[in-house]
Symmetry: C2
Subunit: 640 residues, 2 copies
């Protein structure tokens, strides 16, 4: 194993200015984060009470009252603060920063003298602290607050929350390492949080504590059973014998497949990959590679959705990917992106970047209404009004995005991902700058300042303007060419580069003494791709999915009439990608094709021929579905 | 409306001697009924305690103890007694009759002085009688015991149980008619029971009480809500607001579609059709016709399975017929046959007979293992090991038949249907004998004695030998020619009949002065039929089901290898029906055809071509699936 010194960049190094993403970042900063704040403050009528800010005020002794909400209610505040930190990097906002400072001040007052921080246990059951790691999310909430602390520190330079969480980390270290109390989190997240503290401060103790929880996990698969028996009380209805659910069934280094609750899983895999690099841990890296391979090659929807079952929001068995009774939680796809980026920093390769991009442009942003006001938790690939959201097996598959839930996990996850998008577009190694995603804007690296203009995802045309920070010094610009790019050509200062020698795993490495004003342009064709699924996926036999660039397309009743299952696309027919239409669904490229509607008369069962009719078919990007009222939708279409 | 005087015949008039059915009747009499008896008597180790006989003994004061079991445990005894009565018609058995007499004697002692009979309420809560019609099945249990009483009386001439149930009927009449207490059964069945008493005795009071419950139902859709509110206690978790579940959402004459719990529904429809005829009630008949049309043309599996959803074991919306998350309870298909036969007696037509035969040869007998020892409640059209019976949405779909359940509804229902099969094969009108199903054996009618030799379901060849009871008297023999019969030809005494004039709704009417020894032979071809589903059934697009005669075929992994979803049958290929193989699966005709296995390499998603391989494919009758160990099964196969 050779681990290159590739690092995540600081969010502040990047300024996104992109035809596709800027509007979405604006939605987050202008709609989602303020809306989320009003909810946390209980100022939105008609939405179930959050009480999350109030919990902290009461725990801080600033207000009278009782704890209210989920046992992990604190994490809603943490996720909001993290998104606020990122949004301040995108767009300074003194008022918002002041309000964030205030809540951080309250949080610091809610911290107990011994460093403990958790409003649920502090108010409801201080004597029960740390006795129900299985169900009660103390370490999970701490992890999210650590992420917020690191982000806020990096965004503002203010370290109040960082210090709070360092004290909490010390408290945890004391209990689980110094005092040698056994314990692992029932919902992984503390590992990511600790690694963020480590990256923000460079303090090894955070890394060691993260590694401790990773090392402990699954060492004794009966830990939660024992905890449950010793404790004699239960909070929820989790089954301590279900060790797959929380990935405690085996030591993590021995895990070879994506298992259990998908969000728990990808949060853990993210920390494992981060630790593999930071601690140069070959065993963790190998486990991550095996798990990644299983997850994306046997258990992932074409949209980047993962966790196919509503029961336990979980991975099931290989190739079990039903389109209509799907789960594919938005949060899980967000976590898949976290994991992918960590794998990329270990080994820049299209096997990670393609999937990261796939999830980003499809399974993640499908979670958000185009107006930023409503969110899917479940991201189906087939929706049938009257069945989806209504009947047994489909009740969880809502055919339209609902408003904020009480368990408000997905909207803040989308918010924190999209506000920190710059960190997913780039990495910087010792002497190499990596461009993973072609997103327009500016970025500042040690070696150079680079401006990008990109037509992604609608056209394969990206230009990089390079301004080296030092003249005469050689460095490498590594540009990913997505797997779907056809006839990719690079132009250096307008001159076509005939033979690029250094191509590794989809990344094109350009090593030279760059001069100020140099431009590197990448152009490629984006054909519409007819993609088939492995025949072990029972539901997709005889069907095709259409993709163009990173975008997965779908068909809606609105464009194609009722009974989409009657529509067939013919292999021989060409599919036209239309022009970019800025007025349609906030700006999309539609696909148009001829096809057949094959249908029956009234009989339920019959011998003889079907009727058929040539039709025009129109596909829209999957992420934009469900924005025009209740209607049928399908990704996988019949093909002949 | 013109209602012909067509009547159900007495079971004793028929003696079945048939290549297909005799062995199955023998299974019921020699395996199922004795096994059922041991269970009711708690003599089978390893099976959950029934206590059903014991409940009656305790209620009769013959034994000490407590009630045990479901609130409808009494009905298990009733269904067993009914099947015993039918089996005594098939095969006299003094010992069995003596044991039945004994339990009937105990039942009569368990009856309360006021005529009330129900061991649950008698022992557990006598003060709560009749206060929870919604959940507590008193009328349901009474209905089943009435069916048993009528059957036992007809089989043996003994009227002890008949008198018990007449007293119970009088008790019910007193409460609900004389005393004008409102109330309808939460689970319909009393209506059928009362009609059986009516047919057995000719006493109008039974018909009137049945009609009362039918008339009352749905008059006030809020009845169960009010009952629930007045009562202040609950037994189960039924929602009184779910008025579809028990078909109380509207007056039955206004119901136009099959709705709610499928067994409740078909039991009610059966009684409605019976009453339509007996009471010459045009409104009921019309409602039955509308409901029938909706049920069989929009909500029925090709196997005759009905009630597609596990939630509430219920009908859902039109064309919602998933193959793998199916419910299709065996009992519901049994009830469909009850309903079909009543509709046939109103109007002999293939629209009823074809469906009755379809359910009988497929969705009902698929419920029983070939050895008679295990039973499916749920009858899937697609089973995938590792998913079926295991994962969310599929847990109820067992891939192998389990042993007897605590809620032992299906096995006794199959038992009582198959032992009384003769009554479904024939009807007799004023001057017409109807042959609905070509089942071998002998039958005695007012006009003639008829012997039948039939090669059904494997060959289209039936011969009727007629011996008129009076010489020189004209009567009509009406023989159904199934819709699937091709090139049907009749031979009278060996001479081909060139033009049959009187054909109505699939029935061929032969009116003549029959002479002793006359033979009428029907021969027809049974091609393998490629049947398609309406394209509104999303799951079956691009798929075909193979049928031959009344038999629906399926494909099992055992014959075709793993991953049946990869197998395609080609429209152009001929399908060979093999010879009858007596050694295979207790005697079947297999279908053989060439086909293609279309499969993929390792990739989960890919562009480009599939791999393909010509293969031999073998189909077996659907009813015989699951008799060779755990394996994959499909009815609907991909076709191109």
């Amino acid at each position: 194993m050779r681990i290159d010194d590739i690092n995540e960049i600081e969010l502040k190094q990047v300024k996104i200015n992109d035809g596709f993403w800027s509007a979405r970042q604006k939605l987050i900063t202008e709609v989602v984060i303020p809306y989320q704040e009003s909810i946390l403050e209980d100022k939105v009528p008609g939405v179930e009470k959050s009480h999350a800010f109030a919990n902290f005020r009461i725990a801080a002794g600033l207000e009278e009252g009782e704890f209210y909400g989920m046992v992990f209610q604190d994490s809603d505040v943490a996720k909001w603060l993290e998104a606020v930190a990122y949004s301040l990097c995108i767009k300074p906002d003194e008022d918002l920063e002041r309000r964030a400072d205030e809540i951080i001040d309250i949080i610091s007052k809610a911290q107990q003298p011994d460093g403990y921080l958790n409003t649920y246990f502090t108010m409801k059951a201080p004597e029960k602290r740390w006795t129900n790691l299985h169900e009660c999310h103390e370490l999970y909430c701490a992890g999210h607050m650590m992420e917020a602390a690191a982000a806020y520190y990096k965004a503002t330079g203010k370290d109040t929350l960082l210090q709070v969480m360092e004290r909490m980390s010390d408290h945890i270290e004391n209990r689980f390492i110094s005092e040698k109390r056994e314990g692992i989190p029932g919902h992984q997240e503390i590992e990511i949080g600790l690694m963020k503290l480590y990256h923000a401060t460079g303090k090894e103790k955070f890394l060691k504590l993260a590694l401790h929880f990773i090392d402990e996990r699954g060492k004794d698969p009966e830990y939660f059973i024992r905890e449950n028996n010793n404790r004699g009380w239960k909070h929820e209805i989790l089954d301590p014998y279900n060790t797959k659910y929380n990935q405690s069934f085996a030591p993590v280094r021995e895990q070879k497949a994506a298992q259990g609750h998908s969000v728990r899983a990808v949060y853990m895999y993210t920390a494992m990959a981060d630790l593999a690099k930071a601690a140069e841990d070959d065993g963790l890296w190998k486990a991550c590679e095996a798990i990644w391979d299983n997850m994306v090659n046997k258990k992932m929807y074409i949209t980047g959705g993962i966790g196919s079952s509503a029961e336990g929001e979980a991975f099931t068995v290989d190739y079990d990917l039903p389109n209509d009774s799907v789960y594919a939680e938005t949060c899980a796809s967000v976590g898949l992106i976290f994991f992918a980026k960590k794998m990329l920093d270990l080994n820049p390769s299209n096997q990670y970047a393609d999937i990261m991009e796939r999830a980003l442009y499809n399974g993640v942003i499908s979670g958000m209404q185009l107006d930023g006001k409503r969110f899917f938790y479940v991201n189906p690939l087939e929706v049938n009004p009257g069945i989806s959201g209504e009947l047994f097996g489909f009740k969880h598959v809502l055919p339209e995005r609902p408003a904020w839930y009480q368990c408000a996990c997905c909207p803040p996850n989308v918010a924190r991902l999209l506000t920190s998008l710059g960190q997913y577009a780039w990495s910087e190694g010792r002497d190499t700058i990596y461009s993973h995603l072609s997103i327009g804007g500016r970025a500042e690296f040690r070696a150079a300042r680079i401006s990008v203009d990109s037509k992604s995802p609608w056209e394969g045309n990206v230009t990089y303007w390079i301004e080296p920070t030092q003249t005469g010094k050689e460095f490498t610009l590594s540009v990913r060419v997505p797997s779907y790019a056809k006839n990719a050509v690079f132009y250096l200062n307008g001159r076509k580069l005939e033979d690029q020698q250094d191509i590794r795993l989809g990344y094109y490495y350009f090593k030279r003494i760059w001069r100020s004003g140099d431009t590197l342009q990448l152009k490629y064709d984006m054909e519409v791709r007819r993609v088939h699924a492995n025949t072990l996926v029972r539901e997709n036999i005889g069907c095709v999915a259409l993709l163009r660039g990173p975008i997965v397309y779908c068909f809606e009743e609105r464009d194609n009439g009722k009974n989409l299952q009657e529509l067939w696309t013919r292999k021989k027919d060409t599919i036209e990608a239309g022009d970019y239409e800025p007025e349609v669904l906030n700006g999309i490229v539609r696909l148009k094709m001829k096809g057949l509607r094959i249908f029956a008369n009234d009989e339920l069962y019959f011998e003889g021929e079907f009727r058929q009719q040539e039709v025009e078919m129109t596909a829209i990007p999957y992420y934009a579905w469900g924005n025009r009222g209740l209607n049928q939708m399908r990704v996988w279409m019949h093909e002949y």
